[in-house]
């Protein structure tokens, strides 16, 4: 059994710089429940999976691997959630993975038949990460229901690649894998859509974002953290505090100064 992902021992920075041909990339799958996310996970990884618990949480952690064009990809199937505003342990796990562990690519899986509801989560992820791919799944169901989705337009609007799939029919999987690969190698420039709030709120966000930057550097999505703090997200505050404590102990014990959060390449 491979060790569960740990947020502070993962040698992200090394890998990011090397990007050699045999690199292993980490891919996170986020999405609402009932989007066929697990079907996609199964279709990508086949039987190369193992499940356990997220450290310290009663949330199932599923991880699998696949190879594509000589690279190995570790896929983390995040719990299905409607939001990432820490309403539940599931949402906390998904949030922590995206902001602290910083997967090489975060794939947001959307249900093609309920795009509007699913878009909420996608917009939240776009505020938290840069390397995001939107995967519109269940496209076969949407066709049956007479739903037409213009993915090129969507991609332009949101500033990230959009891929249509039908995981259960294995449609669009190789295209998805290709896009994931290109993004992992930094060949795709993204410009994730950031929601603009009222002037009053935007002012507050900028004020706090400055302090976030001076406290955490650019290791965390500063605008998003600022917004969450303004919302009084106690769970996020606790997890920030916890990480700082953890870091302090580690430094005390080893006297080294490895970055607490994976540094962006």
């Amino acid at each position: 059994m491979k060790p569960l992902p740990s947020t502070h021992t993962h040698p992200r920075s090394l890998k990011q710089h090397k990007k050699s041909d045999d690199a292993t990339f980490r891919i996170a799958l986020a999405g609402n429940p009932n989007t066929g996310k697990s079907t996609l996970f199964n279709a990508l990884t086949g039987l190369r999976q193992h499940t356990g618990n997220w450290p310290g949480k009663t949330v199932i952690h599923a991880e699998g691997t696949y190879s594509y064009n000589g690279n190995s990809y570790t896929v983390i199937d995040l719990p299905g959630t409607y939001s990432l505003f820490s309403n539940s342990a599931d949402e906390e796990v998904a949030r922590d993975c995206i902001i602290y562990e910083k997967p090489d690519v975060t794939v947001v899986v959307l249900d093609a038949t309920a795009m509007e509801r699913n878009m909420n989560l996608a917009l939240q992820v776009l505020e938290m990460a840069d390397r995001v791919v939107l995967c519109i799944n269940l496209i076969d169901e949407a066709k049956k229901k007479g739903i037409h989705i213009n993915e090129k337009r969507l991609s332009k609007q949101l500033g990230v690649p959009v891929v249509k799939t039908s995981a259960r029919n294995r449609e669009g999987l190789s295209h998805l894998q290709k896009v994931i690969k290109e993004m992992a190698y930094g060949k795709i420039n993204t410009n994730p859509y950031r929601i603009r709030y009222s002037d009053e709120l935007e002012e507050k966000i900028s004020a706090i974002e400055e302090t976030v930057l001076s406290t955490f550097g650019d290791r965390l999505p500063s605008r998003w953290v600022a917004l969450r703090l303004l919302d009084g997200d106690q769970s996020l505050i606790d997890s920030l505090q916890h990480r700082i404590e953890l870091r302090r102990k580690e430094v005390g014990a080893h006297g080294t100064d490895e970055p607490l959060y994976p540094v962006e390449a």
Binding site: P33, N34, L47, T58, V59, I60, S88, A89, T113, M115, E116, R117, M119, N120, L123, Q124, L138, E141, K144, K145, G146, I147, H148, I149, N150, E151, R153, L154, Q157, L158, R168, N169, Y193, I195, R196, Y197, S198, L201, K204, A207, I208, T211, V212, S214, T215, A226, L227, L229, L230, D231, G232, I237, L240, Q241, I244, R247, R248, V251, G255, D257
Partner: protein, 469 residues
């Protein structure tokens, strides 16, 4: 990198400053504004990029729901589906089960010849062939066919999207019992494996209702108990019928057991919500996703690999040593009786009061690691003391039971005991892992045990007092 690493303490203070600043600026409207803005943006984006061409087709699931969750048809359809799943399982498993049993007994003949050919000592043949091999043969032939049918059929229903509708239909009952509608989903999982169902209670977010679901999950019979229920129902309850009617009666009796299990679940949940788990039912939302036609072969393949083979593997790993232990216990003599007979004799008076016998109770006790092995152990126990016949068909099996003084009451009470008794070892381990509490784990053992003893005792006493047996 500074030698004293000053960035760390300052970071902690930094966070404090940050929090103070955020708190000063934050107000109650932030959340509403953020969410409203996200929705507004999502709506605009979707409006530009998505076209809905056919309003009628969008309503398909809703039309189906008007039947499947209707006031009149909701419950009858649910019970009928359950009945059909059992019927398919029972009817379909019979023939492959007896074919597998024949295959194993045919191989056993050659194994015995091989042991004789190499002049192996009798005890070795006993341990390996009569204990280990026969135990394994039983587990595989009795369990594999029903599992290979039940799990895929169930997975098809699940992938079709029917299970959330069950939770929708049942929610009112669970609310009345102080629980959560999603408890019915964890129960549905329990039909497969209680240990897995304990993990699945994670879908219930409220700790109180989740604990309730954990403590009562055992009252739905798992895969390891189906063979016991099905076999006893068909041998003793449906004995007077033949052919299709026999399958039907067997399925009805098994379904009756399931309904008793559901009633007990609701009753125990209710009692818990009035005592150990006091509180009001917490908030609840349930999504009813659209119905989707499942990918037939994919679903069957995956459920076979994930569930059937997994459960079978576990049963074999546990049944193998149990077979060996049972054989050894039955063959080590203390005085003029084997250890097994001593244990049975010790348990017998108490077991008789429950309408069972010492062998049955011993089988349940030795079967703690896995319910799958209760029946094999019972048979090994009976065979080790009775005539060493080989079980090739069900008539001989029934004769074996009758030779040991079985009546319909024995069969009924064994079914009830199996339905109600303590969870298997794996389930208990999972309960501990999930609750991290010895107290709750112990309660999850104690409640069913007391119930099983109480119910079987009451029925046995009443049946005897009324002169029914």
């Amino acid at each position: 990198m500074g030698p004293m690493n000053p960035s760390i303490p300052s970071k902690r203070d930094g966070l404090k400053t940050l929090l103070n600043q955020a708190q000063a600026l934050s107000d109650d409207f932030t959340r509403d504004e953020v969410i409203a803005q996200i929705h507004q943006t999502g709506k605009e984006i979707c409006h530009e990029s998505i076209r809905y061409n056919d309003a009628e087709k969008m309503m398909r699931s809703e039309k189906l729901d008007r039947i499947l969750t209707s006031k009149i048809w909701g419950f009858p359809i649910m019970l009928a589906m359950l009945g059909v799943v059992f019927w398919i399982t029972i009817a379909g498993a019979n023939i492959p089960s007896s074919m597998l049993a024949e295959l194993f007994s045919w191989i056993e003949g050659y194994l015995t010849l091989a042991f004789k050919a190499i002049h192996a000592p009798d005890w070795l043949h006993g341990v390996l062939v009569l204990g280990l091999y026969r135990g394994l043969g039983w587990v595989v032939s009795v369990m594999l066919p029903p599992m290979a049918i039940f799990f895929p059929v169930f997975a098809l229903l699940e992938n079709f999207g029917y299970l959330p509708r069950v939770a929708f239909n049942m929610d009112r009952l669970f609310k009345g019992a102080g629980g959560h509608g999603k408890q019915s989903l964890t129960m549905a999982m329990g039909f497969g494996c209680n240990a897995a169902a304990i993990m699945s209670t994670r879908i219930i977010e409220s700790p109180r209702e989740r604990m309730m679901a954990i403590l009562t999950n055992n009252f739905v019979p798992c895969n390891g108990r189906w063979p016991t229920l099905i076999l006893l129902a068909s041998l003793f309850m449906a004995a007077g019928y033949t052919g299709g009617a026999q399958t039907l009666v067997t399925a009805s009796v098994v379904m009756g057991m399931v309904i008793i299990g559901i009633i007990v679940t609701l009753a125990v949940s209710w009692a818990l919500s009035k005592t150990a788990l006091k509180g009001v039912p917490t908030h609840y939302t349930l999504e009813l996703p659209p119905y989707r036609r499942p990918k037939f072969w994919d679903t069957i393949l995956r459920s076979t690999l994930d569930k059937s083979l997994f459960v079978l593997k576990r049963a074999i790993i546990i049944a193998a040593p149990a077979g060996v232990i049972t054989w050894i216990l039955a063959n080590i003599m203390v005085g003029d009786m084997s250890v097994l007979e001593h244990v049975v004799a010790f348990l017998d008076p108490f077991a008789k009061a429950l309408g069972l016998d010492g062998f049955i109770l011993m089988a349940f006790i030795l079967g703690l690691p896995a319910n799958e092995i209760v029946l094999p152990i019972l048979l090994m126990g009976y065979l080790s003391t009775g005539a060493m016949l080989e079980i090739e068909n069900l008539t001989e099996l029934k004769q074996l039971f009758l030779d040991h003084g079985w009546t319909w009451l024995t069969a009924l009470n064994m079914m009830l005991f199996s339905l109600l008794h303590y969870p298997c070892g794996t389930t208990l381990v999972n309960i501990y892992k999930e609750t991290k509490s010895f107290k709750w784990t112990f309660l999850s053992f104690l409640i069913p045990t007391v119930l099983a003893i109480g119910v079987t005792f009451a029925i046995a006493q009443i049946a005897r007092a009324m002169g029914w047996v």
